[in-house]
């Protein structure tokens, strides 16, 4: 089990019928990406995917942030989840880079309860990078 964190709080994470990048040809709308995957390989499939889940092996490995941003720059408009032990302080950054939600393990949800994530649900406030890109 794991927890899906959104701007309104915790939900039980629904099971995902996902394929890895190697199996993308047979996808059923949901794809799992590893931090080493190159999003450029997804270009032909982007319009058909409804959910992409990008893995964070540890909170300090930021490669998935760049992947999220690149997927949004490529025009991907479906759901995008960060999956792994992110910490609550990173929630705002994940949202700003294009993730819709973060899937965290249960033990982390116990250690960092819902209130700590809701505290960063105001991720649009003080988004200085958006101001610079305006």
């Amino acid at each position: 089990m794991s927890i899906l964190v959104t701007d309104t709080g915790f939900l039980p994470a629904p099971p995902a019928d996902a394929v890895p990048l190697a199996g993308i040809a047979a996808h059923r709308g949901v794809l799992d990406l590893a931090p080493t995957d190159d999003p450029a390989a997804l270009r032909p499939y982007l319009a058909d995917l409804t959910l992409i889940r990008v893995a964070f092996p540890v909170f300090s490995d930021g490669r998935a942030f760049t992947i999220a941003r690149r997927l949004r720059m490529m025009g991907y408009g479906g759901a995008l989840h960060a999956v792994g032990p992110l910490i609550a302080d990173q929630y705002a950054m994940a949202r700003r880079l294009g993730f819709d939600a973060v899937e965290i393990p249960d033990d982390l949800a116990a250690r960092q309860p819902e209130s700590q994530w809701l505290f960063r649900a105001d991720w649009q406030a003080h988004e200085y990078q958006a101001r610079l890109r305006a």
Binding site: R63, F65, T66, R69, M73, R131, R133, A134
Partner: protein, 378 residues
């Protein structure tokens, strides 16, 4: 120092006279010293943020995750190679550039207004010129600690925090208050701290220099040594730093007092000595003309010397001379190097660094270790 950083931005103008940046990536000191690689000779000012984002984005994708000591831009640039990393940065930049619609330029324009030049005074400087000719103490300070200002009536003043025998870069709370008052009175309320650990008053009218100098001397801040031997950068070392393997500050203090007693530092001329108390290189010893690195050899302080380092646009990592020196041997060792320099320079105008570049390490090794010792050291 722009070549010894993760990302270095050196202000340049292109052939058309427009301002921009040379972009250098993958420099750094510490345990793996490297001079950075130029990935763009000229980047227009308006492209700065998307370009830097592209560099960081590529680094975030490629950077090493398996070993935190190798999780540095310099390692990524070294392992990926200049051609490939430049291509990846340019590709990422092409994607990112269109996302910047001018918001960054509006913010920059706002910031610029906070850095408007002060209202320069127009006043005679004849009294200053006469004082300069008449007072040798003032003249020696002015020759060493002033730099030319673009307004000929003004000067850029460096207040030395390197009084001989004091902890380099330290000022007392009283001195800080005095400096702040002087900046307010004579410096258009502007003061800056330099990476050399001195204080700069960027706009002082020449007619105010004699009274400013007198006030500095009274506060123990009138040392005339900017850019000379005793203007040393020393890290805190064993005296304050938990990571240190040796002391830095006392080495700097002894070097300064020793050469002050010999009255040699003005004769030696421009010289940058930098001292670090461990391999982390916070004193930037690799880019000192003379670098000193304090190590721990079986519980005993041992100081390794590097020569010929340069942190400017002609950046070079200094070369190791050979085996290190014990604490009580380091000052005499530096004296041997500098006496060798004085003996072999073509004329007093040839600086230590120029002489080193002309003759190489050999004569200095001989001065340090002797003819026989040099073989042992090899």
């Amino acid at each position: 120092m722009t070549k010894a950083h993760d990302i270095g931005l050196r202000m340049v103008r292109n052939a058309g006279g427009e301002p921009g940046f040379e972009v250098i990536v993958g420099g750094g000191l510490g345990r793996t010293p490297m001079i950075g690689t130029t990935v763009r000779d000229f980047l227009p000012v308006a492209d700065l943020l998307p370009y830097v984002e592209a560099v960081l984005s590529v680094y975030n994708t490629l950077g090493r995750r398996d070993n935190k000591y190798k999780a540095r831009i310099k390692i990524t640039v070294h392992e990926t190679g200049k051609a490939e990393i430049s291509r990846m940065i340019e590709d990422r930049f092409a994607e990112l550039r269109p996302l910047f619609g001018g918001g960054d330029q509006a913010v920059l324009a706002d910031i610029r207004t906070a850095f408007a030049p002060p209202a320069f005074r127009d006043a005679p400087v004849a009294a200053h010129d006469a004082f300069y000719r008449a007072d040798p103490v003032f003249r020696s300070w002015a020759d060493t600690n002033l730099a030319a200002h673009r307004n000929a009536q003004y000067a850029i003043v460096t207040i030395s925090l390197k009084a001989h025998g004091q902890t380099p870069g330290d000022a007392t709370s009283d001195q800080m208050r005095i400096i702040a008052d002087l900046a307010e009175r004579y410096g258009h309320s502007d003061l800056r701290i330099s990476h050399e650990q001195n204080v700069i008053l960027p706009h002082v009218h020449k007619s105010d220099l004699p009274v400013l100098h007198a006030a500095l001397v009274k506060a123990g801040l009138g040392t005339a040594n900017v850019g000379l031997l005793s203007d040393i950068i020393a890290c805190p070392g064993m005296d304050y730093c938990a990571l240190a393997t040796a002391r830095s500050i006392p080495v700097a203090q002894e070097l300064a007092t020793h050469f002050e007693a010999l009255k040699l530092e003005h004769d030696i001329g421009p010289l940058k000595i930098k001292i670090s108390g461990c391999i982390n290189a916070c004193g930037h010893h690799h880019v000192g003309h003379i670098g000193i690195l304090g190590l721990d050899r079986a519980g005993v302080e041992n100081y390794q010397i590097t020569l010929g380092g340069d942190g400017t646009e002609t950046a070079v990592i200094g070369e190791k001379t050979g085996p290190g020196f014990a604490y009580d041997e380091i000052v005499p060792a530096i004296e041997r190097i500098l006496r060798a320099y004085l003996a072999l320079r073509t004329d007093p105008g040839e600086t230590f660094l120029q002489a080193y570049r002309r003759v190489g390490l050999g004569p200095f090794k001989t001065a340090l270790y002797g003819e026989i010792g040099q073989k042992d050291a090899a």
